[in-house]
Symmetry: C2
Subunit: 246 residues, 2 copies
């Protein structure tokens, strides 16, 4: 039997699924709403894209509508809910055809598509992700991935770990790609400086960390390193899943 249906939670879920069969909270009595939830989310996302997630505040969003911060609350409930709604809203899944050539190709297509979304909205990497939660758009991604694994007869026991690895890897590589992107326009000076300072202060760094030192320097072709890393990782995973057998 259902626990007393905590109104806030229900309202949040309604808002999350507002384009998939639910309507936002309920019979609206008061004055007509002057704002629109989708529009609020769009401007929140725009701010996050341009100035980072930290620049998203109830005030900064409301300011774009020449209103004060509290107008936002009737539309989203709390700041945390607002961020969750932005997260799902920004995660709309594009459409593509699953490659039928190999599992590796199909996984690659999925991963690349998700990578692209994360690149468009780098702040998504700062948001938590858990398999069980979230809204319809994030749900779409998971379902699609599971369908691919099913199509290629990946044994059920291997699916949860595969899902975890894929999501984790996409998020990680997208995160570093976004960090590189930011350096591009901000200077990369500090990054380099820190590395130099470390080398200067720890003269035997190369002896202490020979393996790390032996890695190809990140600076070389750094721009597409994350994407290449992702491709390599997906390839590895596909190999493992294929050889796991049915």
């Amino acid at each position: 039997m259902a626990v007393e249906p905590n109104r806030d939670v229900e309202a949040h879920v309604r808002r999350l699924w507002r384009h998939r069969g639910t309507t936002v909270p309920t019979p609206r009595r008061g004055p007509r709403q002057q704002l629109d939830l989708d529009e609020i989310l769009r401007t929140g996302i725009a701010i996050a894209d341009a100035e980072g997630l930290a620049a998203v505040s109830t005030r900064s969003i409301a300011a774009r509508f020449d209103k004060s911060s509290m107008v936002i609350y009737p539309y989203v409930g709390t700041k945390e809910n607002l961020l969750a709604l932005m997260q799902d809203h920004a995660s709309a899944m594009p459409s593509w055809d699953d490659p039928v050539t190999s599992l590796a190709d199909a996984l690659h297509a999925w991963a690349e598509a998700l990578f692209e979304v994360y690149l468009s909205h780098p702040w998504l990497t700062e948001r938590p992700w858990s398999q069980a939660s979230q809204g319809p758009n994030e749900q779409d991604w998971l379902e699609r991935l599971l369908r691919v694994l099913d199509t290629w007869a990946v044994p059920p026991s291997a699916r949860p770990p595969a899902v975890t690895m894929l999501y984790a890897t996409v998020r990680a590589t997208a995160g570093t790609a976004a960090a590189y992107e930011r350096m591009n326009q901000q200077g990369m000076a500090e990054w380099r400086e820190r590395a130099e300072a470390t080398m200067a202060l720890i003269p035997d760094f190369r002896q202490r960390y020979p393996m790390t030192t032996g890695l190809e320097p990140v600076t070389a072709r750094w721009k597409d390193a994350p994407r290449a890393g992702l491709a390599g990782a997906v390839h590895l995973l596909a190999v493992a899943l294929s050889s796991a057998g049915p």
Copy 2:
């Protein structure tokens, strides 16, 4: 030639490596310091462990020493630096013997050890990680992993993707494990409630997302699910790395 050695960056690096050959800033003229950087970091970590990273503030730390917030700054520079120092300080690598039985076992030992560290300090998952940065303790982990890959003759081209996947997977699984842990003491009520609300509001959820629905429910044996997921993932990866051949 070195750019003018930005004093703040250099000081931060010195602090990071203070136990590995550098000394904290240096010619100190003024009055003796009454606090100790390691002690500051310990209390910051204690607060983060107990109340979450959000509860860590210059004021909350200083209060434990009956001082006001600004005392912290001579020791750490900025809040961001403080967090970075806490991050490295909390990442001390334990010692263990590399299994010689198989690559899979060796990787598993590494991953489990790191997982354990993240479980002890769940807030570490909220901190960014990038291969090129950080302090000595985090460096140790990377070096150790690379040594394992080298020992087992994993081809150099496969190493960066493997590193990325391993770190990403450990962080992701540790993050969900920590989330479960939190639910334990906080109720898990909200989580369940949200799931129920979604099912109630989207009656055809199971038709729309058959694959997701088909997954074993997370609630069953949820406590060790993340650890098991990590083990499975590492196993998959080891299979791929082995069959990649030299």
